[in-house]
Symmetry: C2
Subunit: 172 residues, 2 copies
DNA sequence: CTTCTGCTTGCGGATTTCGCAGGAGCGGGG
DNA sequence: CCCCGCTCCTGCGAAATCCGCAAGCAGAAG
């Protein structure tokens, strides 16, 4: 099917150039190297980073600040959700009739949706849900997600065990 | 003397039994609050965190260090993979015959697998793949994953657009 | 040629990090 | 009961880092 609503880049009025994915190009090798350093340790001092990538401390500071301001990267603490009290997670595949992007926006607005991605394949959207317990999960999937206009059907994959979760893009 | 923005540690030591899962060193309310601070800004100074959670700078430093050592949390830079040069991503559902965990371990060992989780539902495993281009993705899915002993079948969902990616567990 | 952008060096002061020396609270023996 | 070991917190200097600023330089673009 070619009428897929993938053509967001031309028709979407609020498609700003700073949008998260479409436009984040100009990343040279040095910025890449800086990001790699911060992926190993988000608190590494600027001077140490500068030594590693061949830049002065001030230059690293400026580039990191710009990367942060541009939203290209963020420095945050990440945890295993189970450890912080969220016991039920699930990946939900969603089939949509009509505009996929508007449905995606609606799901993005839900705090329980940690991860929303438009996909090709037998699902139009994949959504990761993080909840506190079974009741919470049930409510989100059956009441909230399926209530979104355009959602045709959903299929749920409840997490049994998280085996791997890394943040090492670019550190290969 | 500090006020008490968060519940005192004497709340209830065995708040709720949970450590059954993949490793839940009981986290009290103060550590939770510290994590929340660092989820907003991974570089926030210890003194500022201490002011927010009602602890001294040194105490915050020790607790953060312990959380890091225990692997409960990590402070890292996260980016949109598209921005750093990985143009093809996919979620892959895997069906397994035999021991699911051994297959999961094999997939975990692959650098291209960013995310591996055992699930209930029509897939036994869900795996997120991050690749540089189409050839790379094709090779990983068709040559490497399907070559793992015990893999019965796979279904791929190629990412078209990443809509949301947050790391705000506990910050609700 | 001029402008603009980005990097470097250098500087000083404010801030933060870090190690270490106590001290308080809490069970478990003797 | 008291002592001991343990854990966690606090306080305090010393060292390192962060941060803003200024002047000079080089390359790219107009």
């Amino acid at each position: 099917m070619h009428s897929d609503p993938v053509a967001s880049r031309s028709a979407d009025p609020k498609d700003s150039r700073e949008s998260k994915n479409g436009g984040g190009p100009q990343l040279d090798a040095v910025s890449l190297a800086i990001i790699e350093q911060l992926q190993e340790d988000g608190r590494r001092p600027y001077a140490a980073i500068g030594k590693a990538v061949g830049l002065s401390e001030a230059a690293v500071r400026q580039r990191v600040q710009k990367l942060l301001d541009q939203g290209v990267m963020q420095i945050v603490a990440v945890t295993d959700p189970l450890t912080v009290g969220f016991r039920r997670q699930a990946m939900v595949g969603v089939n949509v009739e009509g505009d996929v992007e508007s449905v995606a926006d609606a799901l993005t607005a839900m705090t329980e949706c940690e991860y929303v991605v438009m996909t090709a394949g037998s699902f139009d959207l994949m959504v990761e849900i993080v909840c506190e317990d079974d009741d919470h999960l049930l409510e989100v999937i059956n009441k909230r997600i399926r209530a979104v206009p355009g959602v045709r059907s959903t299929e749920s994959f409840v997490y049994l065990k998280l085996k791997k979760q890394t943040y090492m893009w670019g550190t290969r």
